[in-house]
């Protein structure tokens, strides 16, 4: 139980990822699958960001107003920038891949007039 509270972020990460995975596997609708993919992705991004957060830390922008002196002396008072930049690019790439997925879904709809997986398979067999 103590672990559960101290590592609450990982619990939410796992829940989000599993919700996304369930949606991708069990939902028959292609749009819902796309949304599930995006949710899975945000789960992973949340994992990276939350391991980069530090206790009592400030945001990774050095300003004089926040009593930062250039150069910084204590690295533990600034949140981890590395995980943030990895995920920053991942979000933009994520929206581009969401676009690719939606384009494929749109083409499939033009062929089969349906987003439903079962109907598409039926149409294929005909």
């Amino acid at each position: 139980m103590e672990n559960l509270i101290a590592n609450f972020n990982y619990v939410i990460v796992v829940i989000l990822m599993m919700i996304g995975l369930w949606s991708m596997l069990a939902q028959k609708n292609l749009i819902k699958k796309c949304i599930g993919m995006a949710i899975f992705q945000t789960g992973i991004i949340l994992f990276f960001i939350s391991i980069g957060a530090k206790d009592n830390a400030l945001i990774p922008i050095l300003t004089e107003a926040a009593n930062h002196t250039y150069p910084v002396s204590d690295a533990s008072k600034v949140a981890n920038p590395l995980t943030q930049i990895l995920m920053l690019t991942a979000i933009v790439v994520g929206v581009a891949t969401l676009g690719v997925a939606l384009a494929l879904a749109q083409k499939i709809y033009q062929q089969h007039s349906s987003f439903d997986e079962d109907e598409i398979l039926e149409n294929e067999r005909k």
């Binding site: 590592n7 919700i19 949304i35 995006a38 990774p60 676009g99 749109q106």
Partner: protein, 344 residues
Amino acid sequence: MPELPIWQFDVLLLILVVLFAVVALSIRNLMGAAVVFGAYSFMMCLIWAGMGAVDVAFTEAAVGAGVSTVFVVSTLYNTGATMQRRTGGLTFKLFIGVVVTVAGAFLLSALPDFPKWGAPDSPVNATVAPYYILNTFEDAHVPNIVTSVLADYRGFDTLLETTVVFIACIAIYSIMRVDKAKLETDEPAIVAAPRYDPSDSLIVRQASRFMVPFMQLFALYVIAHGHYSPGGGFQGGVILGASLILLAISFDLKFLLRQWSEKTLMLLVAVGVFLYAAVGLTCMFMGGDYLDYGFLDSILPGEKDMARSHGILLVEIGVGITVMFSMIAIHINLASNGRFDRGL
């Protein structure tokens, strides 16, 4: 408990975000699901701001409010699908549910081995990240550590990510784009043309006309001021793209295509990546390694650290151009069903 600055908000928002995810997937109306998914991204933005990741929060704000929901809406617009079919396979869903639960339990069983939430000495925070935090300002004269790591220390990474956006744009182009003449003989278009009615919504058009210049000005500020505040090429590019998408929505697609022809759009998508790569190549010609902006000090003003700062700015401009025009090209392709004439 973690000692994050605003951990109360973080915990509450983490619970709320799970609720949003469940709601977005359980609504059977597809438009409803898309709209709730937009709100899910708002919550994610708040969580990242709460964990101190302002640049990520900014990117999510721009992407979630500006483009991603619009993409889903335009897909739904072009296909006309409204409701999800009520499928009978309850046992199948339950089976998947059990499988997923078991997988989640396996993942959760590793919970005690993870470092505590917010521990400053965890492996992630203790190895390479302190170097960036301590040395950024001497090396590159950039107070925003995220920007300097993004464009300088890990420049190759960002170059390839930009290329991925470029490739995704090309992929959507090759999936969606159809020849108009060929389509008319083959099959009728699925969606009939909405007539452009000038008296349709004067208020929306005038408000957009007022807002778009401010958006573009703000986006340029975000790109240029990214060294000192949250922002950079990705955020600014997405906001610039969203401003033109707003024009396309509130007027019509023809209005946008009159200004930016298909050829120009694709050319500019390539120009952004090219600018990034060219800056790297220039560094090689000046005697350094690829993307080592310090060697640009003979053609850029200032010493080595200022040269790196200016190099970062050039690279961010390249990223901004690519992201902006990719977003516009993706939107036009999705909204007009690849016909490039009319749409959402």
